[in-house]
Structure formats: C-alpha cells, structure tokens
C-alpha cells in the first residue's frame, strides 16, 4: 500500500482538484459550531498579544476630536448630581472660602424666602383661577417653552 501511495503524485492530484468547488460544499457554520472557542481563547496568551500591540500607534490613529464630538457632554453634565458632589466633597468648602460671606448668606436667604412667597402666591392664584396661565419670562430672556 505504501509503495502504491509512494507512486502517486499527490501534487498532480491536488492540482486537478477544484478547491473552490470543494470549499463551496463545506458548511463553515457547522464546522465553527464544532469548535470550542472558549478553549481556543483559553489557550491564547492575551498578555503576549497585547505586548505585540503598539498602543501608541493605535492611539495616534484615533481621531479623538471626532470621538469627543460624538459624546453628548450636556447629557453627561445633566446626569451629574452636583448637589451630592457639593455636599460630600471638599468642593463645597472651596466654594465657601472663595465666594461667600455672611452678607451673601443673608441676601441668598432673603431672596429665596421671597421667591418661596412668590411661588406660594402664584399657587394660590392658580387654585382660585384654574385657567390661569403665566409665561415664564420675556421672550428675549426665557425660552417660551420653559415651564412656568
């Protein structure tokens, strides 16, 4: 048998095989289904792969501006709980030392109480006069779509 095989010119045989036809008849999905990818990945030394990656070159090819343009910074800022940030960090102390005084505190307090009274009066009027509609502010200062 071995002598017979030795006499066969395999290259000549392979040259006559239409590989494309052969590959068309192979169901690659079925082949892949039989591959245990987890085992393959387990055998890959990721660190070694990463060692071979030139990260500097990769980052240099990134268009960071285009990336940042796609980020909605306003949405991120909107998600920030600034009150908690101010409450729980030294940012609050920094703000106090840089911008506040006893007078500022008193003025802030007085103004906010006055606004509370404005709001209460507006609510009372709203209860008495159900169809009462107000605009938030002059068109040049406030977006008319804003809540009143």
């Amino acid at each position: 048998m071995n002598a017979l095989i030795d006499r066969i010119n395999l290259n000549a045989v392979l040259a006559r095989v239409e590989l494309n036809d052969l590959l068309r008849r192979v169901d690659l999905n079925e082949v892949l289904d039989q591959v245990d990818l987890n085992r393959v990945i387990d055998r890959v030394d990721v660190n070694q792969v990463l060692d071979r990656v030139d990260l500097d070159r990769l980052v240099a090819r990134l268009d960071v501006n285009a990336l940042v343009d796609r980020v909605d910074v306003n949405e991120i800022a909107g998600r920030l709980d600034i009150e908690t940030l101010v409450k729980n960090t030294d940012l609050g102390a920094l703000m106090v030392s840089s911008s506040t005084s006893l007078l500022t505190e008193a003025v802030d307090l007085g103004r906010s109480h006055a606004v509370s009274m404005d709001d209460t009066l507006a609510r009372w009027v709203g209860r008495l006069w159900r169809n009462h509609a107000t605009r938030p502010g002059p068109p040049g200062l406030v977006n008319p779509e804003e809540e009143s």
């Binding site: 609050g92 106090v96 906010s112 006055a114 606004v115 002059p138 406030v142």
Partner: protein
C-alpha cells in the same frame, strides 16, 4: 435655604429610581423669569425705607448746615408745601434714576429683581421715565394697578403695561442653592 421653596417638585430620577424632590430654586436658575408679587413688594418696602431715610437725613443735614452757617435753626414741618414738593421730587429722582440707569433700585438689588423692557432688553431712559411717572397710578386706583402682578399672564402691573416694561429675577437661584449646600457641608466638616 429652607422654607416652602425647598419643598420643590418630584423629579423622576434616571434609571427608573424613585422620584426625588428637587427644590424649586435648584430646578431653575430663575434669572430672566418674571418676578412675583412678594419679591417686588419687599423690594419696594426697602426702597421706601431707603429713600425716605435719605430724605429725612437730607432735611436734618440742611437744618444743621443752616444753624452752623446762618446761626438760625430750621424746623421742617411735614405739612410744609416745600417739604412735600421736595419729597415728591426726590422720590421721582430716586426711582427715575435707578430705573433708567440700571433697572435696579437698591431695594431691587437686595431682592434680586430688575426692570427690563417687555421683550427682555434694557428698559432705557424713555421707558424708565414713563414707568416712574405711571407708578403712582397703580396706587391711585386703590392698588388695583398692582393686581396684574398676581393675575396677569406676564406678572406686569399697570405702570409696567403703560411703560412697556416688566420685572424679572436677576439672581441665580441655583448658584445660591449650591452656595448654601457648600456652607452646610463646610460647617459639617469643621
């Protein structure tokens, strides 16, 4: 900052978490919004105190100057026609000057409100003067001229409508709220 403003309105938290109550002053910075009756009234009370106090002080100063320079003391009677004319002229000057110059009297600065044109721009000299002249009308009509602040769509009094002006908040309530939180946080830490 405490009080009713801090009661706020429930605002849905992201991710379906329970709604949290956010103070009114945090919800909106208020700057540019029509000012309410209380803020305007309190600022007017401050202005009355300041302008009348300044006028009284001027009378005392004039009496003192007369006694020093002429050696005769002057007693100003509140019923004296010249005192009355002087008082109204001073009041006119006081309001006209501040409303035309910056739209803010000292009382308004304290309460963080400002006179602006009805479209939101600077009130200007003409509108400031008309507003000052029309201001007494709101009193003369048994105070009904002020009802527009409570009931009107734009919270404008009669003298605002006549002059083509409006009164808006000019302070940043959100900034003040953050300052207040910062103070509390600093007090807790110290």
């Amino acid at each position: 900052m405490t009080g009713p403003a801090d009661a706020g309105l429930p605002v849905p938290a992201p991710g379906g978490a329970p709604a949290r109550r956010v103070p009114l002053t945090t919800r909106q910075h208020l700057r540019g919004h029509y000012a309410g009756f209380a803020s305007r009234f309190i600022s007017f009370v401050f202005d009355c105190a300041i302008s009348i106090g300044a006028f009284e002080l001027a009378l005392v100063a004039a009496s003192f100057a007369a006694s020093v320079l002429a050696g005769t003391s002057i007693h100003w009677s509140r019923g004296n026609i010249w005192v009355i004319v002087g008082f109204f002229a001073w009041e006119f000057f006081y309001y006209a000057y501040f409303w035309t110059a910056s739209g803010k009297t000292p009382g308004m600065v304290l309460l963080g409100v400002q006179v602006v044109g009805e479209e939101g721009g600077h009130a200007g000299t003409r509108r400031g003067l008309i507003r000052t002249l029309a201001f007494p009308l709101s009193f003369i009509l048994a105070g009904f001229g002020f009802l527009g602040i409570l009931l009107g769509r734009d919270r404008r009094a009669l003298h605002d409508v006549i002059a083509g002006t409006a009164v808006v908040y000019c302070w940043d309530a959100r900034e003040a709220r953050l300052r207040s939180l910062a103070r509390r946080s600093a007090a807790r830490r110290s």
